[in-house]
């Protein structure tokens, strides 16, 4: 009976180890389009693990970009929010790096031309 406290402590440790604590590393946002152009949202997310401090690659960044751009082939992507974050598991022994990209796919071309204005 004296060692009964081990069970909840172990359970708490397992829960803490399995759960992911997230840390934001960097965030950026670019120019937002007008509200009428915010209809089509494109987003993508890729990740890469770091196990005991050993990362395996940085290709997930290029994969994220390729996937992101590929989701809006016939338009421009504006209002891009990029987020890079770490998710820690097992008290930091395993870290999953995540990069998320989100933006608006703008397919229509604006009728007003800057070049036209500049001629004056």
């Amino acid at each position: 009976m004296k060692k009964q406290w081990h069970k909840p402590a172990l359970a708490a440790l397992v829960v803490q180890g399995l759960s992911g604590c997230m840390t934001v590393r960097s965030v950026s946002i670019s120019q937002l389009p007008e509200s009428s152009f915010r209809q089509s949202v494109v987003k993508t997310q890729t990740s890469s693990p770091i196990v005991i401090g050993i990362p395996f690659n940085t290709d997930y960044l290029d994969e994220a970009r390729a996937d992101f751009v590929g989701r809006c082939k016939d338009g421009a992507i504006e209002g891009v929010l990029s987020k890079h974050e770490d998710v820690n598991y097992f008290i930091g022994l395993v870290v999953v790096q995540k990069v998320s990209l989100q933006g608006y796919c703008v397919r229509k071309v604006a009728s007003v031309s800057t070049k036209k204005k500049r001629k004056v």
Binding site: A76, G103, V109
Partner: protein, 139 residues
């Protein structure tokens, strides 16, 4: 403490050093608006070697814009993704900080028509492709 354990203790930092050598970590990522017309992909990078953590400036990053511009002298670079990477060598004693920028070199008049919302009229003010605001002039 057993003999085997005592003998293996010095190996721990050595193994850690070897394991972490040439490991590349991502520090920061950013992405700007991606243009409709995606031309040639251009890439530029600046790097700095840091020994024992001594670093007194980050001025090398300022050259990144010029390097990227030189890769696309006759057009503009849009859809720029930047990556800030750190590569460890010999454990934590020596590392390289690298900042990478990739974007699309867009040529011609297609640039002004769109891309990052530059050409749209907004309450009487239009912004140029370089992001600078200029007053709208009616023809």
């Amino acid at each position: 403490m057993s003999f085997v354990w005592r003998m293996s203790l010095p190996l721990i930092p050595m193994v850690t050093t070897v394991c972490l050598s040439a490991c590349t970590y991502t520090r920061a990522v950013s992405e700007t608006n991606v243009p409709r017309e995606r031309g040639r992909l251009v890439e530029a990078a600046v790097a700095k070697n840091i020994i024992l953590g001594f670093n007194f400036d980050n001025d090398e990053v300022l050259q990144l814009t010029r390097k990227l511009r030189d890769k696309c002298p006759s057009g503009s670079v849009r859809g720029i993704m930047t990556q800030d990477l750190t590569t460890l060598y010999v454990g934590f004693f020596y590392w390289e900080r690298k900042t990478l920028a990739k974007g699309y070199c867009v040529n011609g008049s297609g640039v002004a028509d769109n891309t990052d919302g530059a050409a749209r009229s907004l309450d009487g003010v239009a912004s140029g492709p370089d992001g600078s605001l200029e007053p709208e002039i009616s023809l």
